[in-house]
């Protein structure tokens, strides 16, 4: 009975839009690394933590005024809200229960209350006893009066800050990765301390050394010595003690040096991973991203142009030599093997990507990336470079939106050089844009003054630009070549394709944009 109630409640929640909306909002606030609001909330929590800890410190020597207590209470309420929120979104119980119920339905069995409760408690308890949750709880609990004695645990609130600093998290991950080495060194250190303190106690603990009263004293001495701190409050007096000290200092120095090198090594190894995580979170916040696979010569030239056009893009390559250049120009880049699905998934599918450009000099690789993207979605436009004439067809079969075979285009331009070479210069300039002359497009949107007027009426022919064609309906229909200056009247959604000085075209674009205001 109770089991059925829980199951139907799960279904009710699943169908409730409002429930989902609230849960998503909380998720965006607390956990979603992509949400815009989370960073502000994080900063707010860090501020609260610092504030309450300062109050704690102030409290030691001063008497707290009333409004400080209010502030403390507000802070704790926020912490409680935060913990409950995280507790709530920690697992999707309703989905699990529904899944369990469906499985039982297939088997034509009744859902068991015990299993449902197990699902609920297992998931939620797992969250409660996770390290981050414990830190959060320790920050809240001491405020409860009967537990006041635990006030010192308020300092645990400082740990809460760790939650918000990604770099610290990755630091701990690094330490975790080197667990074996560090454990070994720790064991070695403990062994050395135990050994030396025992020998010291045997030889000097029997009254030879007036400073040593117990075994604890020799352990204290050993730790102070092995860490090379050496206060000097307890010093060996016998010859044996001095010999032991020499070995202890030597060994301690070695252990310290080794552990330092282990940690530094691990950190430098992980630097690229840390950097990549940062790049991924950076591109996660971008919209209309362009991804360039391959940072060879073509990729580099394209990136430079995109940078000039203020487009957002990321470069993916596996060669360090190529990526050095990306680093030099301060582009976003990723050192990754583009043939692996994970790379494509992390960079393309998880972000708001508009266009993908494949510029590697390996057709097999270009095709493999193309197919992994096209297999999943058709919304991303893909421009692929073909490296051999025979492969162009394969790119078309794989549904590339555009295929560029640079060698053919270049050859077509090159043969024009045989004649008077004037034509060559004209085409070369239009295609590569060597001078300030450029070919560009201007869209005429609804509300523009140009609509219904001819080129002569607007005066475009006097502006020193050459109009090549007009595309109708945003380019859906065939274009009008060389529109008549006195007869052709512009319509809504026309696009003008024209050649002219960059500054002249910019002027026209500026005017068109101003008309719409």
């Amino acid at each position: 009975m109770l089991a059925r109630l829980i199951v139907s409640f799960a279904y009710f929640l699943e169908s409730s839009k409002r429930y989902k909306r609230v849960k998503t909002a909380i998720y965006n606030l607390l956990e979603n690394p992509r949400s815009k609001i989370k960073p502000y909330f994080d900063i707010f929590i860090i501020f609260l933590v610092l504030l309450t800890v300062s109050i704690l410190i102030y409290d030691i020597e001063h008497h707290l005024p009333y409004h400080f207590e209010v502030m403390e209470n507000i802070a704790v309420s926020v912490f409680i809200f935060e913990w409950i929120g995280r507790f709530w979104i920690s697992a999707n119980l309703r989905l699990r229960i529904i899944k369990y119920h469906e499985r039982k339905l297939e088997l034509e069995e009744k859902p068991k209350l015990s299993t449902i409760l197990k699902i609920i408690f297992q998931q939620k308890l797992q969250y409660i006893f996770s390290p981050m949750s414990i830190i959060d709880l320790l920050a809240i609990l001491p405020t409860y009066r009967p537990l006041r004695i635990l006030r010192i645990f308020l300092i645990f609130r400082l740990f809460k800050i760790f939650r918000y600093t990604k770099s610290l998290n990755s630091f701990f991950k690094v330490i975790k990765d080197k667990k074996f080495e560090l454990n070994f060194l720790l064991l070695l250190g403990l062994f050395a301390v135990f050994m030396s303190s025992t020998i010291m106690y045997v030889f000097e603990g029997g009254g030879e050394n007036p400073k040593i009263h117990s075994f604890l004293d020799t352990i204290y001495w050993s730790v102070i010595t092995i860490t090379t701190v050496g206060y000097g409050d307890i010093t060996p007096v016998t010859l044996t003690g001095k010999v032991i000290t020499v070995f202890l200092v030597g060994g301690g120095f070695l252990i310290l040096v080794l552990s330092t090198s282990v940690v530094t090594n691990a950190l430098s190894e992980k630097m690229s991973v840390v950097r990549e995580g940062k790049v991924l979170s950076q591109i996660g916040k971008m919209t209309n991203l362009i991804v360039i696979f391959g940072f060879g010569r073509m990729g580099q030239i394209l990136a430079a142009q995109l940078k000039k056009g203020h487009k957002k893009f990321i470069v993916v390559d596996i060669s360090d030599e190529n990526l050095e250049k990306a680093k030099e120009f301060d582009y976003l880049y990723m050192h990754a093997d583009a043939s692996s699905y994970d790379t494509v998934n992390n960079i393309v599918f998880k972000n708001d990507v508009k266009k993908v450009v494949l510029t590697t000099n390996n057709d097999a690789l270009n095709l493999s990336i193309l197919l992994s993207i096209k297999a999943k979605t058709d919304k991303i436009g893909i421009i692929a470079r073909a490296n051999s004439y025979e492969n162009i067809k394969k790119f078309h079969i794989a549904k590339a939106d555009h295929v560029i075979f640079p060698y053919q285009t270049v050859a077509e331009v090159a043969v024009e050089y045989i004649g008077n070479s004037v034509k060559f210069d004209a085409i070369d300039n239009i295609l590569v844009q060597k001078e300030s002359i450029t070919i560009d497009e201007i869209d005429i949107l609804k509300g523009s003054d140009y609509i219904g007027k001819t080129i002569a009426q607007i005066g475009l022919d006097k502006l020193g630009v050459t109009i090549i064609a007009v595309l109708k309906q945003n380019g859906k229909e065939k274009f009008v070549f060389n529109p008549h200056h006195q007869e052709y009247r512009f319509q809504e959604d026309d696009s003008i394709v024209l050649i002219g000085e960059e500054k002249d075209i910019f002027k026209i674009k500026d005017e068109v944009a101003r008309q719409l205001l």
């Binding site: 142009q305 560029i404 285009t409 004037v422 070369d428 590569v432 020193g464 274009f479 002249d504």
Partner: protein, 229 residues
Amino acid sequence: MRKIVLFGYSKTGREIAKLLLNDEYEVTIIDENPLLVALANEEGFFARHTSFKDDKILIEVGIGNGAEVLFCVSDNDSLNLFVTLSARNIDKNLKILTKILKKEDEKKMILAGANRTISPYDVGAAKAYRIIQKPKVSKVLNQLSALKNKISISEIEIPKGSAWDGVYLNDIDIKQDINLIFLGMLDKDLGEKFIFFAKGINHKLDAGDIIVVLGSKKDIGLLEEKLWK
């Protein structure tokens, strides 16, 4: 037949050779890679192997001896430079077009004697950029190159004593009567440089100047007729 020499049966070289495969041109391919020479011969071109110990082979294939244009398009940058330099040394009037890998190399090649340079990566990148940033421009350019027979870029030399000899550009208003787009011109008085009309300078046309127009063959024929009226 016009003699053309093609150094380097690279991907670019192969495409150029394919485009020049007709009765109008006599193309000789030279390459230092015997495998590429074999491939070129296999694909029906006349190709010779060379190691560039001396300039003998260049003279043999016609440099300084009737060859009009030399394309240096091998994948080896320094060899391109070397062949450009050697050929220029033999023939001062030869037209040399050299492939470069990056823009910074352009000056070097021109110093070595190339008339023009071209870079497949520049062209490819510019094309990719146009598709992203100016989709309509790339659509128009694509269709213009697809309709090759209908609309194309052509050059017209102004004949002596024709209607346009000695006329200022702004005074000509026949532009609208013919469906042609006037892109630019080469003014013999101003040297070898191509000038776009879009730069907005009022030029005086003289006999021998070359105008570049975009339009159909029929309209170009009409223009040529008009020049004599």
